[in-house]
Symmetry: C2
Subunit: 259 residues, 2 copies
């Protein structure tokens, strides 16, 4: 059996955070041009229904299976889009698709693969409070589903000790209830108690909640699966404003850096 005459196409499309205002023109065009959409149900719900476009929703945790199904569909000659929240390249579907592609049949390598970037959660949360990612920073997943917890601790320690601001993805879930508390405890041993900490939940959605606290007061109970946490460095400052929410920024200059 020979393959389709026209090689299939697969785009992994970043929707940005919860609101359509974050969608780029490129992402909109990629969604409009697809014959079939694959994605976690909550992300698919954010894409307007188009006549004749197939929609294949799957569970949040079924990333590998979803990626493989989308690749199989594209290999039939179809134009397929896998939708992803935020940016597909940051703790999202792009790596899952490429892992499946690498492990799959040789013929998948002939597919036209495109990754369409988007505004990832840490950029949207940072923007809501100012510019806490204004200087060197790390993005780190607290999930120990695919890496040992010891490695998470080693990376937290290395990054905080070297003066990076931290953006923590996947801070907590029902199956991972204690990891965030342990991470904050570890960071309290490395950074001043007054270090600014931002909890940014569901930015751009109706249930958005963004709060500013300190490392000493940061409460793991404030976070859920939809939360992105930013932990400042010694160069992260807070500007108090009468009648307005405070602004947080990390200064570009690190001459007084003690870390």
């Amino acid at each position: 059996m020979s393959g389709p005459l026209v090689p299939g196409r697969l785009a992994v499309v970043g929707l940005g955070p919860g609101d359509a205002c974050y969608l780029t023109a490129e992402a909109e065009a990629a969604l409009a041009g697809a014959e079939a959409l694959y994605g976690y149900a909550a992300y698919l719900d954010r894409v307007p229904v188009r006549q004749g476009q197939g929609r294949y929703a799957s569970d949040n945790r079924a990333e590998g299976a979803r990626a493989a199904a989308a690749l199989r569909h594209a290999a039939e000659g179809a134009s397929v889009a896998v939708v992803s929240g935020g940016d597909p390249g940051v703790f999202a579907m792009a790596a899952a698709v490429l892992e499946e592609l690498a492990a799959g049949p040789e013929s998948w390598r002939a597919l036209d693969i495109k990754i369409v970037p988007g505004v990832t959660a840490m950029l949207a949360v940072a923007a809501r409070v100012g510019a806490p990612l204004g200087h060197d920073f790390c993005a780190l997943s607290l999930s120990d589903n695919l890496k040992p917890w010891e490695l998470v601790e080693r990376r937290l320690t290395a990054a905080a000790s070297a003066g990076f601001v931290l953006a923590l993805y996947n801070p907590i879930s029902r199956a991972r209830p204690w990891q965030l508390g342990r991470a904050l405890e570890l960071l309290r041993g490395l950074l001043p108690a007054s270090t600014p900490v931002v909890f940014g939940r569901a930015v751009g959605r109706g249930d958005e909640r963004v709060t500013l606290t300190t490392l000493a007061a940061a409460d793991p109970e404030s976070a859920d699966m939809a939360t992105l946490i930013i932990v400042g460095s010694r160069q992260t400052h807070v500007i108090a404003r009468p009648g307005r929410a405070p602004l947080v920024y990390t200064s570009r200059s690190a001459e007084g850096a003690s870390a």
Copy 2:
């Protein structure tokens, strides 16, 4: 003298990488609604001219002066937008504006400040080659204009040793000719020679150039001021494809992580 009756507004707007396809709907609305635009001339040139909208171009290096001028203008009651390439919160204008605000007159704290996020360079470069930022990574400026070079080296060492992928901003300039070579030399002592390295220049522009190489072969001469460099980790893999550019991804799983 009393201030204006309506507090001025200042938005710091991310244009994304070079092409308008990366602009978000929110950024487009913020640009359209401003009475005056401030920015580095090359970024301002990317914004369509609108009748009655003032345009104040300045030099790339005049970030502090530009931020202060925009704040002064907003403090007169105007609606001002400061434009920034990529995301304004990542090595760009948002932190510069907030540094000036923190140091400026108390009255500036009454201004309505908004940061409008965008697709930052590392996301666009990563998308062009696959998903090299698919797992834990750091964003680090190689500029030693505002921090000592020893701190850059300490951060490079900490991040690479702990297994983070690295996104290097501001890798080189006429005034900083040797720093990138020194950084690559340092990384060669920490990571395998085969580690994938991506040079991404001017993504989305007519003169875009994205190349994949290895840490052993990476040549500082391939970079200029408009280049973003991604250095992989031990979990970064390359998928060869007959007749197509190879794909690069960092696997989500780090079980075999030796770093």
